[in-house]
Structures are given as structure tokens and as C-alpha cells.
Amino acid sequence: MSTTFDPIQRINDGFEQFKINEFNKDPDYYRQLAQKQQPKFLMFACSDSRVSPTNILNLRPGEAFMARNIANLVPVSNKERYSDIGAIIEYAVETLNVEVILVIGHSRCGGIERLLALPDDETSYDFLDDWVSVAEPAKQRVIAENPDASGEELQTLVEKASVLDSLKNLLSYPYVQSGIEANTLQLLGGYYDFVRGNFQILETVTV
């Protein structure tokens, strides 16, 4: 354990800065927010420490209901296996009435890297390996369509294909499908490349 890093001081400092520079400077906004949240966005982003949408898209509290998981995956609707993801989508769409669901993939994703390393005869990570296999169809499709791709190029293709699959999987949630049809909801797929410092929209799904 490092001796110079004080985790409690770190979050104390962070909270103080937030209170002084944000909360206290706009008490009306925060008072309103405390009563209710009305985010326009539901976002799915990776748990990776480098890709918080709050940082890269400069989000304020109240703007985005946010799910963060390894490799920003959205599995096909399954109440038994993936009630965690379903709960996020259900709450965001049915209760909060978000207008946009944005799935953000990113470069050098450890989850996709692990997926590409499977099957791994030497080491297994029971929980991680089970989870990243949600993106297996994207991996198989990319490999079939790009037989010569390897290394970082292959990984980037799978990272992006997985975002597109997540958008498709969102449609397996009935209230998402009906929101699209009623034009009260749209889906966006994005990709943040922190190696090159750029952000692109990969796909949109609207009525």
C-alpha cells in the first residue's frame, strides 16, 4: 500500500471544491435538483478511470442518468441474468422519461482486450469473462469481416462494433422500442479515442 497517498484526504478535498465552487454558487439550481431529477440522457460508459462522461462531455449534475460497467455493454433484455442493466434502463425510460440513450465506447478498453484474449487456457476470471462475453457476437462478426486485422486495429473494430450491438440490444427492451416508435426516445452510439483525443458519433437510432 502506498504510504504517501491519503485516499480520505483526496475525496475530502474533492468534495470541498465541489461545495465551494459549484453547489454554493448556484443554490437555486441544486435546491431544484434535490426535489427531482429530469435528466435528458441515459448514458452507458465504461468503468475505465479515463473515460468519465462527466469529464469529457462536461456534464453538470442533473444532466445524465449514468450507467458505468466494464466495456459499456448493454446485453439483450434478460430479467434473470441482467436485472442490474434492465433496472437502469427501466428507471431511466419509464420513470425519468429520458430523451436520449447514449452508449460511449472507447479506445484501449481492457474489457474488450480481455474478450479478445478468450478462450484463455491459463487464467480465468469467472465474473469478468462471463460479463465480457456479452460482446462475443461483435467479436465474431468483426473477425469474420476482417480476417487480416490484428492487435490494436482489431481491438478498435471490436470496441466500435460492440457499441453498435449495444444499441441493437437496447431495442430488445420493450419500452425502448416503443419510445423510439413514439419519437420520444433516440439512441446514439459514440466512441472516445483518448489516444488521438477525438470523439465520434458512430450511429443514431430514431423513428
Binding site: 475525496i11 465541489f18 461545495k19 441544486y30 435538483l33 427531482k36 431529477q37 462527466t54 436520449v100 469478468l128
Partner: protein, 251 residues
């Protein structure tokens, strides 16, 4: 608007749209794009390019000292309220910042737990809850043993031990106060569930990993934090005995 306010404060009940409420139509998706583009370019100009060396370093590898498990609620992003910068915290966000126990099997939360603990070797796990949590309210509102078609109910039942202990100790309080009590109990329940993962307990026992609880009250902007005292806790007790230390209240 009144219907939506009611839906938000009462948490989770599936909202039935009335005929009086007009759904918001998305007229132009280019509004979303333009806004996002401007925000990203601003981040790139003011943060990324001004700290290019740091970002290039991070592009090679991340070494966060924290795993943070936080609620998906739009008001409680740990990057914002605790000031985490790129590279500092591996973050999981789900409904009601719940951590299911090992025996529940694989899910997105414990996949991130496994990766951050065994591969990234984070030194701290912070489970951070908050006031007026819709997920906890759903947990407190649902009937026990309910077989539900709702995803939310199927998920929040992970926190049922917190609900039981709340009902046992705080049943004389108002429902709102019980929910607040449960919000905090649930954090401790999640900390104990963390210890059901062998590779977590092993590291905690060796002093390589600390488990912290945090509670953000966004009504009065205060933050309470505590650390699980592993030596004095005994999660194998029937009532899930735990001890905490270093409690602080920031206001």
C-alpha cells in the same frame, strides 16, 4: 409536470402516462449532437491539450487508486461531487449503488469488482450512496416475496438485508426516514457483500485494500464517510456484524 414530479419523488412505480401529459417530442437530433460536440471540444481544448503529457501517459495505462461504486442517479456523479479526474477512479454505477454477494453469480458489478481488484489492484473501494434514492425507495416499498415483472424490483432485492435491518430498528420512524436509514444500511450491506469475494477479503485481511462507505446528502450538501474496520467485523455472524472506524462528516 405534476405527474412527473410525483413519479420522481415516489421513486419507482411504473409511470402510467395520462392523457393530459404530452410526451416530449425530439424534433431535431442535431441539437444533441451540437451540444455534445461543443462540450467535447471544450474538454479537448481546456483539459486534454493543456495536460497533454498526463493524458498521453494515461493512454498507455491506468492505475486508479479507487474503485467507486455509485448510484446511476444524475445528481451524484463521483467525478463531479468528489472531483475525480481522469485516471483516478474506476467507477461502477448502478441503481442504488448495490453490490450483490458472491453467491449470486456473475453480473456487471462483480465483473468490474474482479477486474479492478485483481488486475488494476486498486487500494480502496468506496461504496457511495445518497439521499432520496429511488432504488432504495423501491426496495422499501415493495412487498416481500414479491414475484415481479419489474427489472427494478428484481435488482433492488439485492439490498433486502438492509431493508430487514431497517424494519427491525427503525419501524417507528416515518417512511421517508426509514428510506434514509436504509440508504445508509444498504451501503454497509454492500461493504459486507464485498467481503464475500475471496480475492477481496484476502487483500483486506493483508491491509492491501480498504473498504469505505460514503453518503452524499444533496439536500444540504454534506458528505459522510466511514471505513470498514475489518479486524473488528464478523460478516459470518447471522446478523452480519460489522464495525466501522474513522467516521467523518463534511459540511
Amino acid at each position: 409536470m405534476a405527474l412527473r414530479l410525483q413519479a420522481s419523488t415516489e421513486g419507482v412505480a411504473l409511470v402510467q402516462e395520462t392523457t393530459e401529459t404530452t410526451p416530449k417530442l425530439i424534433n431535431d437530433s442535431s441539437d444533441s449532437f451540437t451540444e455534445m460536440k461543443n462540450r467535447f471540444l471544450s474538454f479537448k481544448k481546456h483539459k486534454y491539450l493543456e495536460n497533454l503529457e498526463r493524458y498521453q501517459e494515461l493512454a498507455q495505462a491506468q492505475a486508479p487508486k479507487f474503485l467507486v461504486i455509485s448510484c446511476a442517479d444524475s445528481r451524484v456523479c463521483p467525478s463531479y461531487i468528489l472531483g475525480f479526474q481522469p485516471g483516478e477512479a474506476f467507477v461502477v454505477r448502478n441503481v442504488a449503488n448495490l453490490v450483490p454477494p458472491f453467491e449470486n453469480g456473475p453480473c456487471e458489478t462483480n465483473a468490474a469488482l474482479e477486474f479492478s481488484v485483481t488486475t488494476l489492484e486498486v487500494e480502496n473501494i468506496l461504496v457511495t450512496g445518497h439521499s432520496c434514492c429511488g432504488g432504495i425507495r423501491a426496495l422499501m416499498s415493495m412487498e416481500d416475496e414479491e414475484n415481479s415483472s419489474s427489472f427494478i424490483k428484481n435488482w433492488v432485492v439485492v439490498g433486502k438485508a438492509a431493508k430487514s435491518s431497517t424494519k427491525a430498528t427503525a419501524s417507528n420512524l416515518s417512511f421517508d426516514q426509514q428510506c434514509k436509514h436504509c440508504e445508509k444500511e444498504s451501503i454497509n450491506n454492500s461493504l459486507l457483500n464485498l467481503l464475500t469475494y475471496p480475492w477481496v477479503e484476502e487483500r483486506v485481511a493483508k491491509g492491501l485494500l480498504s473498504l469505505h462507505g460514503g453518503y452524499y446528502n444533496f439536500v444540504d450538501c454534506t458528505y459522510e464517510k466511514w471505513t470498514l474496520d475489518y479486524q473488528k467485523s464478523n460478516p459470518k455472524q447471522e446478523t452480519g456484524g460489522y464495525a466501522i472506524k474513522n467516521r467523518e462528516f463534511w459540511s
